[in-house]
């Protein structure tokens, strides 16, 4: 059993209706599987999948990354600071 801390920002937060949530899974899943899981309940994410950025424990990574217990996953659209 693993617990993942998910953080969402900007339009992803608006679409899903939360900024932070804990998810529990029986096995170590990939970030991609986590996004697919979110897309099941929030189909609007499907249009954004290609542009989403992912950070695990505050460093950028790829969707194929396998998550471990306690990881903090952030999913967000392209940044626009400055």
């Amino acid at each position: 059993m693993i617990t993942i801390h998910l953080k969402l920002f900007a339009s992803m937060k608006d679409i899903c209706g939360f900024a932070e949530k804990k998810f529990t899974y029986d096995n170590n899943i990939s970030v991609k599987a986590l996004i697919d899981h979110l897309t099941d309940s929030h189909p609007e994410i499907a249009d954004k999948k290609e542009i989403l950025l992912i950070a695990v424990n505050e460093a950028y990574t790829v969707p194929e990354t396998i998550l471990n217990d306690g990881d903090v996953v952030a999913i967000f659209p392209p940044v626009s600071g400055g």
Binding site: S11, G81, G82
Partner: protein, 138 residues
């Protein structure tokens, strides 16, 4: 030296520039990014910046590490605001110092370009008839 912060409050330029000033520097270069009143044909009223603060500070430091290594600057100061920023107010200030101007010009450009690509901050523009997240147009 470096001084890298994020803050909700307006940026006070004189306070920022007082950090780590050195007489061995021949160039202090200051870039001020500010909120303008138009964007893609729309009239902007203000911008609300959202931030993933802990990661943003880490990513800013990673960018500064790269900049220091490549151009050997003596000083880098960065302040990025979050929350509501009004028209004409600075949203970001980047100050770099070096012995000669060339390093300052090149590194200042590198820092702002990398911030726009990598630092987890998002602007939401507010117009008279609604609002829009800017990162989503990419």
């Amino acid at each position: 030296m470096r001084h890298i912060i994020t803050q909700k409050e307006p940026i006070i330029l004189d306070d920022l520039l007082s950090h780590g000033e050195s007489q061995s520097d021949g160039a202090d270069l200051v870039f001020i990014g500010k909120v303008r009143n138009h964007s893609r044909g729309k009239t902007v009223l203000y911008i609300d910046y959202e931030i993933y603060d802990s990661m943003a500070v880490k990513e800013l430091n990673r960018i500064v590490d790269e900049t220091m290594e490549q151009w050997g600057l003596s000083r880098v100061l960065i302040v990025h605001r979050y929350g509501r920023v009004e028209l004409g107010e600075p949203s970001i200030v980047i100050a770099v110092s070096s012995s000669h101007r060339d390093e300052s010009y090149k590194s200042s450009r590198y820092i702002i370009d990398e911030i726009k690509k990598r630092v987890p901050i998002w602007k939401k523009e507010f117009y008279s008839d609604g609002s829009e997240w800017i990162g989503d147009r990419n």
